[in-house]
């Protein structure tokens, strides 16, 4: 069940009514049942996996707490990661081993296993790991299994985040939630914004981007540029739309999820970008990968940049079992490390020139990274980079049509313009934007137009890009 379908709208409305009509003590069960039902619409066979992982983490956290003699947390982490490793990385490691043997002159052709990746496994694994580490570090655990099951399975965040830490939601789950106008109003507005971003913006860009990265396509510099910019915009609108749906849906039931995006293309440095892009994942990588590694070698601060690269490489691998993703992570890691070393004077300067230069460099780094991220293989990525540096092709793009260029350019100009000016515009027009007239006339009219645009441009529900991770 994809968020942008009428089926989801019906599902959401039904659960909303049942949840708020149900007695307060049974509301969490309503949400748990709805969440498992939601997951079953993808593939019911993996319900057992979700349930098993939930039961294991709850039990293991209690075991860690019950033992006063520093019970090890790593077996629990290993169990979580083994599920992820099996489903997501088995073929990757087997194929890599096969390539290594081949490179060494051997002739081993490993069998590719037919393993289907359960939806959301990357997200609920990270959530499980975070829970065990937090509990082991002294955070209060969930006392009731029911509440923990809701934390693990609550459908708005189940498939693609935000990756919520127990401390952020425990009180909301354990407390009594009540229906209020502000939650419903903000929740529906957020869902509508998500639908607009996904259907009107991301899905309009998707076919144009697919053309540029066509399998067996002949790379052409202009195609590569248009396709890469288009993909950078597509993935932002797609994923932030998913987060809007998640945050908005949760809000309808009285939950406040952490934000996942904060105008990332406004970032003035690589680090600033990661503070604005997929914020809950960046935080996870920082707290559970980078910080422990840095802490372990705290006597050798010169290792910090290296751990940054390692952490980002793992972040890339988390996105997909492919070397292009690893390279994408390492690429970002290198610039994050550079920001703390060689490029520190530039990124820490506050002069206007340095700020503009910092933004430009960050955008080049980010969008070049998107090329690696989107290319289906290293060979294709190399082909595109070669075309880019040799300016292959003529003055007109070969694959990406001019209408696509118009769509990409139009959305790019609007997005960059909005990213760079939104705070100034908000400050300038604050009295107008917050006036009663705007709230009662302009804003509802604007949302009605947005809804009409969503309906007209909705051709067929397309899965979110991040569902594959």
């Amino acid at each position: 069940m994809i968020f942008t379908t009428y089926t989801y709208a019906l599902f959401l409305a039904s659960v909303f009514v049942v949840h708020w009509l149900a007695p307060a003590r049974t509301r969490s069960w309503v949400l748990i049942l709805a969440s498992y039902g939601f997951y079953a619409t993808w593939d019911w066979r993996y319900l057992a996996l979700l349930l098993g992982v939930s039961l294991f983490n709850w039990t293991y956290a209690r075991f860690v707490l019950a033992r006063s003699d520093d019970a090890p947390v790593w077996p629990g982490i290993a169990v979580n990661l083994s599920a992820l490793g099996y489903f997501k990385y088995t073929n990757f490691f087997v194929q890599t081993a096969g390539s290594l043997v081949h490179a060494a002159g051997g002739s081993w052709h490993p069998r590719i296993f037919d393993i289907t990746l359960p939806l959301g496994v990357s997200f609920f694994t990270f959530q499980g790991v975070a829970y065990l580490i937090d509990v082991a570090s002294g955070e209060a655990p969930f006392q009731s299994l029911r509440n923990f099951m809701l934390y693990k399975a609550f459908w708005p965040q189940l498939i693609a985040g935000p990756i919520i830490r127990p401390a952020e939601i425990r009180e909301q789950i354990e407390g009594t939630r009540s229906l209020c106008y502000e939650d419903v109003s903000e929740g529906t507005r957020r869902i509508l914004r998500g639908a607009f971003k996904k259907i009107v913006l991301a899905d309009s860009l998707a076919p144009q981007v697919d053309l540029a990265f066509l399998a067996n396509g002949t790379p052409h510099a202009l195609d590569t540029i248009a396709g890469t910019i288009g993909f950078g915009l597509q993935i932002y609108f797609d994923f932030s739309a998913y987060s809007d749906f998640a945050i908005g849906s949760a809000r309808l039931f009285g939950f406040r999820f952490p934000e996942n995006f904060d105008w990332p293309y406004q970032a003035r440095s690589p680090q600033d970008f990661w503070n604005r892009w997929h914020m809950t994942l960046s935080r996870w990588i920082r707290d559970y990968v980078f910080t422990p590694l840095s802490f372990a070698t705290r006597a050798h601060p010169q290792w910090r940049p290296f751990w940054l690269i390692v952490a980002m490489g793992l972040c890339g691998l988390w996105h997909g079992a492919q070397w292009t993703f690893v390279l994408w992570g390492v690429w970002h890691g290198i610039f994050l490390a550079a920001q703390q070393t060689a490029l520190k004077p530039l990124f820490s300067s506050t002069t206007r020139v340095a700020v503009v230069a910092g933004w430009l460099i960050t955008m080049v780094v980010v969008f070049a990274g998107w090329l690696l991220f989107r290319a289906p293989s290293l060979a294709v990525a190399t082909g595109h980079l070669k075309a880019l540096f040799t300016l292959a092709g003529g003055r007109r793009p070969a694959l990406v049509r001019e209408n696509s260029v118009l769509i990409i350019a139009g959305i790019a100009i609007l997005s960059v313009g909005a990213a760079l000016t939104h705070s100034r515009i908000a400050a300038l027009f604050k009295p107008v934007l917050e006036s009663a007239r705007t709230r009662t006339w302009l804003r509802p009219a604007f949302y009605a137009c947005m809804l009409a645009a969503v309906i007209v441009l909705d051709q067929e529900a397309k899965a979110f890009v991040y569902f594959q991770f």
């Binding site: 067996n216 002949t218 070969a398 001019e402 209408n403 009663a436």
Partner: protein, 384 residues
């Protein structure tokens, strides 16, 4: 203290009323916009179709692959007479400045050969690519009543830019398990000789399979859409409005980039190669199925500037000559066949690919003459 919530409640209620009011207004606008678009569309169709005699049995798929199933039963019975299917892109069916006496290429061929014991049936579709041409060969040859003796195919260079089987033909495939099996068998058979084309065919099968699963999954979704469409005009009109928006974007693109029908469009390497493989596979498979493949390079308006890059088009013709020679096919090039007076206008410029009724008649006569020996081979009293 109590005034504030009251005021905000009032604001919220007013906001909801404005939202519903604007949304209702947009629905009313969508309703009238759709009605207008449908009226214009209907008038256009009526204008073009006024020359078709509804009493006459169709001699071609006039739906141009949109409703192939409906026209399939009109294919003359190949068990009782020789059948030639005439396959190609829009040149095969579109008639500029159509008059009541005008017929399409396939109909003229049928007129000329019916008395000689050969029936022709037109299977054309806009922007038909070579995978789709192969589809027509396989679809007709699975049953003896539609198994053609010959397949006349108008080969068009710029259609080597296109790939994929259109959804309406995919649906046709989906409904015929024997054809699906045949499709898979052919893909596997040619995986060594034409790897990209064979992989593409298997990809088409995967698409069809995915579409089949989707249909099952989406039954609730489509029911919900239908229900909403019945209640909200904007949902009902969304396809028409979407099409209109795309048309506006298309016009805007042409304006911004100064694109005309004659603007050069380079070939797309990978798609060009794929279509070449499909044409080769078509030739091999036609031979294997005992169908005479009669291909020709389609006529072009020599007075109009084409969007072809000259060197690429010359390269294509050289390859095509080699291809026909290697497979023992007749090399027929009608590039300069139709004189300037027999073409029409497209967007104010001379149409480089679609001609008037006279052009259809001339092309059909040329096809009939060029392939007479093949069409009438072995027939008693036949004079090639």
């Amino acid at each position: 203290m109590t005034a504030k919530p009251d005021n905000s409640d009032k604001l919220a209620h007013r906001g909801a009323i404005v939202f519903l009011g604007v949304f209702t207004l947009l629905n009313v606008l969508a309703f009238f916009a759709q009605r207008h678009m449908q009226a214009v569309d209907k008038a256009g169709r009526a204008l073009y179709a006024r020359f078709d005699d509804p009493r006459e049995t169709p001699r071609r798929d006039t739906s141009t692959a949109e409703h192939l199933e409906q026209y399939w039963r009109f294919i003359p019975d190949a068990r009782t007479q020789r059948l030639a299917i005439v396959v190609g892109m829009s040149q095969m069916y579109w008639i500029n400045d159509r008059a009541s006496v005008d017929r399409t290429i396939s109909e003229w061929i049928d007129d000329a050969y019916q008395s000689k014991g050969v029936r022709a049936f037109g299977l054309a579709a806009p922007n038909l690519d070579n995978e789709e041409a192969l589809f027509y060969l396989l679809a007709t040859t699975v049953a003896p009543e539609t198994h053609p003796y010959a397949m006349v195919y108008g080969v068009c260079f710029d259609k080597f830019r296109n790939t994929d089987i259109r959804p309406t033909l995919q649906s046709f495939l989906l409904r015929r398990p024997d054809l699906l099996r045949d499709w898979k068998r052919i893909a596997e058979r040619y995986s060594g000789r034409y790897p990209q084309a064979a992989e593409k065919m298997l990809g088409t099968l995967r698409d069809i399979e995915a579409a089949r699963n989707k249909v099952a999954e989406q039954s609730l979704e489509s029911r919900l859409r239908d229900r909403l469409a019945a209640a909200l005009p904007i949902v009902a009109a969304r396809r028409d409005l979407n099409g209109k928006l795309l048309q506006i974007l298309f016009d805007l693109r042409n304006f911004v980039f100064n694109i005309k029908a004659s603007t050069k469009r380079p070939i797309i390497g990978a798609r060009y190669d794929l279509n070449r493989q499909f044409l080769e596979m078509l030739a091999d498979e036609a031979r294997a199925r005992n169908v005479k493949l009669l291909p020709y390079i389609i006529p072009l308006n020599t007075l109009a500037e084409t969007p072809y890059v000259t060197s690429e088009y010359e390269g294509f013709k050289a390859w095509y000559a080699e291809f026909t020679k290697a497979r023992g096919l007749r090399f027929v090039n009608f590039e300069n066949l139709v004189p300037a007076a027999e073409w029409g206008l497209s967007s104010g410029e001379p149409d480089f690919k679609h001609f008037s009724g006279a052009g259809h008649k001339r092309t059909a006569a040329a096809v009939g003459e060029a392939f007479a020996a093949d069409l009438l081979e072995g027939m008693q009293g036949a004079a090639p």
